[in-house]
Assembly symmetry: D2
Homo-oligomer: 177 residues x 4
């Protein structure tokens, strides 16, 4: 069965974006890539100043409210519809709700053929890469490193602690049918 | 009937992005915004080096090939599905195919309530704003200013030549039900 | 006397950056451009989380402390040295201290030939452009629009309220010897 | 003797920028950071479309002409002047001319106390990271990996092939007086 959707789940600064760009390079077909960052960019700037939206706290924790959840749910439906319309899709997400986040995706994905990929990175290493990226707010990497994987099932896991993005992408692409 | 989708069509540097951000600010509900730029960002980088993808020529002309068209068609379906799922959506697009581009959207949008907005800007003014943005390739603004509107029907037109983005956004928002 | 340095002073969202890029395009020689934004980018990220550094408050006010002032003073000396070494330089700055800010530049610039340019923009229009840019924090444009010009002397003033960046740049370039 | 300037030399995608941001975090004093990228940003956009300026070729090679060299020389003088004025400075550069590039810096730096740092990265690994960054033009990493170090003398070398940016930064900071 042809893989229609690849979903990468991992904490902030675990290296998802780099893997996505490498996947888009090494996979022979053109794949569309969407993720948390592009979703937040699509939302009004004022959503980031509202408890009903998304709040990035000074300690690196992230809280989302009902307005964010509603738009996210519709966005998930739309991304699934793109795959149903024939586009091959790569998603990178941060399952802040662990297994519950995965179940929401599973329900929306219906009968599509999905490759579930866990992107692990040692918490201290991810925290260091957060500094190297120059983000002013620190703490997201450490606070998300473990919790996003709790109760989540994968077809495949990669670990960027000691493995380059391109190597991880090649491992993943070998599992794409 | 509640407006579900706002579609802004205009040439490069006509001011669409600024209007979109102002709309997201002035409209009371949170609206999701997508457009050509976010679509190109979602595609593999190598699509920009291929005649089958999208080629930004040195003279400012833009050519798209079959791979681009196929992904774009699926993306349109997905964006429409987000609106059907209840999210309110703002699209900014460049109808390189004029009326033909509008027909493709109309066919995909089905029974949704759409507000069609033309974003005009004097060609010379848009070309100046292209320079002010610091784009290395110049010519897109001038080559697209008129052609994208050919044969297209609007509910409303705004002209950024002498009118600020925020004022245009308020005019548009007054037409949103 | 050949103009060696052009200094543009104006509030946030008054249109300085667009004018700078247009100046770099229309002036026949290549000019180097520096400004507040590139200075802040050159500083450690942690300077933006410290009262000794620079604090962008939620109401749009900006406060700078002694660490920021010390690095800024050395940076000014360096930019002046580039001009003394033969590079033609465009600076865009926000004179938060009004006349006092200008005096600090004058003292550092010594015998160099400088064109002082005030960049005005109606406060409400600048506030609207701040929204159009999508900045999450609003209020800088309004709070800086007038105060940065207090007691400052110019060779030339431009007003972006009703005049395009490229037109302002051509006006300025006509005063460059 | 207090270290006044840290110069990092390495090829494209060798990891200089990440190390610089980590250095700015771990060093107790605030240090200003400048480099090739900020220099190119300071130049007119049209310099990138001129043989007299800087040309990024499709195969990843970079060629600079006399206009670029002249502005760069003045910029070097200015950065040195910032250090002489008391700011602590981190430079990241790509010594396309190897030992000759170092000599130009040495001549300008005069009596300042400088820490020379080589940033190495295995060529294939750097090429992979170039893909992970999503640069459309590939080849810079591979073409620069070795040549920029030819004939250059260092106080210290770090290798990002298997070592994180933050760890490299801590190694470097231990050599800062």
């Amino acid at each position: 069965m042809t893989t229609q959707v690849i979903i990468l789940n991992g904490g902030s600064s675990s290296g998802k974006s780099g893997i996505v760009r490498c996947l888009q390079e090494v996979l022979p077909d053109p794949w569309l890539a969407f993720g948390c960052d592009s979703l937040v960019d699509a939302m009004p700037a004022k959503m980031q100043a509202s408890d009903a939206g998304i709040v990035f706290a000074a300690d690196g924790t992230v809280n989302v409210g009902p307005d964010f959840m509603a738009l996210q749910a519709a966005w998930v439906e739309g991304v699934v519809a793109m795959a149903q319309a024939g586009a091959r899709i790569i998603i990178d997400d941060v399952f802040l709700g662990g297994a519950g986040s995965q179940q929401r995706w599973q329900k929306a994905l219906g009968g599509l053929t999905v490759l579930w990929v866990g992107v692990r990175c040692d918490s201290a290493v991810a925290a260091g890469r957060e500094i190297a990226r120059g983000d002013r707010v620190q703490g997201m990497a450490a606070s998300q490193a473990e919790v996003v994987h709790e109760g989540v099932s994968y077809d495949l896991e990669v670990d960027t602690t000691h493995t380059e993005s391109l190597v991880c992408a090649r491992t993943i692409s070998a599992h794409v049918d």
